[in-house]
Subunit: 245 residues, 2 copies
């Protein structure tokens, strides 16, 4: 089994991808999916239209803040306290765009510190040849918090199974070592700095919690809505296991 880390999305993925966008899409996703159904889209317009067509709740952010008319922001802290009466469609700036670059993989999972144990266990259960930890980055640039989280997840996977690793796995684990804890890395990142400027320090605190959720968002299907992809997720820890007897 090969274990890979990509600092940005950018190649063909044959088997299992864990997409990592710690601030905030892949932290928010398991929080929502614990309580209700989840759709993700890169487009504000598609989120509004799809939400209205299906009577969904709409959650998301642009520049860290919820767009007009949205029911929720993308704040993990807010979403943790919310009680959803309907399914949710989520749109954020980086995670959904990165999703478009990995949909070719056999399985696409969303991972973060928040569901670290669960997502690594599911990845190992599903993978037959390769697990790729793919960092979403921020506006096309590498993001510290995603690489540090990939370091954390890759270290867990290495402990659980014999895997063949390449240099970037070591790079991500070295970056992890450079910080006293995940919160310190989040605070040094550009996304983290933006959230702190907006007073959303609690989001960093929630995003640095480790293995607080056993929900593992797995891409179930993709449909087009108003010219944009809308991705439907299921919880791989509750859905029937692929290949189960």
């Amino acid at each position: 089994m090969r274990l890979r880390v990509d600092l940005l999305p950018g190649r063909e993925y044959p088997d299992v991808v864990i997409l990592v966008d710690v601030l905030r899409a892949t932290t928010a996703a398991p929080i929502v999916l614990e309580k209700t159904g989840l759709f993700v889209t890169p487009s504000l317009r598609a989120a509004r239209a799809f939400g209205s067509a299906r009577s969904l709740l709409v959650a998301g952010e642009r520049d860290g803040l919820p767009p007009e008319g949205f029911n929720y922001s993308a704040s993990p802290d807010d979403l943790r306290r919310a009680r959803f009466e309907r399914d949710v469609v989520l749109t954020t700036e980086n995670g959904p765009r990165a999703l478009a670059q990995v949909v070719g993989a056999r399985h696409v999972l969303l991972g973060s510190f928040y569901n670290a144990r669960a997502v690594t266990e599911v990845a190992l259960r599903l993978a037959t040849e390769e697990i790729s930890l793919v960092c979403a980055g921020m506006r096309g640039e590498e993001a510290i918090e995603d690489i540090v989280c990939a370091g954390f997840l890759s270290r867990r996977i290495e402990k659980l199974a014999p895997v063949e690793v390449r240099e970037r796995v070591r790079l991500s684990q070295a970056l992890l070592r450079a910080y006293a804890d995940p919160l310190e890395a989040l605070a040094q990142s550009a996304s983290g700095a933006l959230l702190m400027k907006l007073g959303l320090f609690e989001d960093l605190a929630v995003a640095s919690l480790i293995s607080h959720s056993s929900a593992v968002p797995r891409l179930a299907s993709t449909e087009e809505h108003e010219g944009h992809p809308v991705y439907a997720f299921e919880d791989a820890n509750r859905a029937p296991a692929v290949g189960a007897p």
Copy 2:
């Protein structure tokens, strides 16, 4: 003044670029340039043909070893001990290819641990708006040793002048912190592992020496030879300073 780090070459560079390929092109380059003239090309064939047309010594490597008929390898350790009677044309796998992606910059310098003090001082003397530390990487993938060296050079520059930095500068400095010293980072890298397998441990030792050379290779001109670029370098610390009175 902006200070940038790119983990791989990949955008437009308006002002000063320090290209970093620690193992081994940008460590070998100041070593050669201290003693004689230096040309660099990505092509084996162009190196041979250009070397023969100009009666140059030919140095380089493929997979860590000198190609047939070459006078020297790209080993910094060998090149340190060599006495060159003629100018040298150098070809290696990653550095010269990265060079092709940064030639648009106003000034292109080659930097490494080996000429750290000199290259950062020259960069600050030449720059008017931006210094970009561009990591060459290895076969299109990010290389630990180049990022760690960019962290080292960026920290020096930050100490010498007020600069505006972005997230990847912090990332490279954090990666630097993760290692006890440059040699440890070099040993963990894919290029370093290859050189150690070839018994070239001394190359890692030389490449991790700090500020042993005051030579600063600066791109002086580019010409085509047999369909490939050949880059001519001068020592920016000995050439007349640009803009000097």
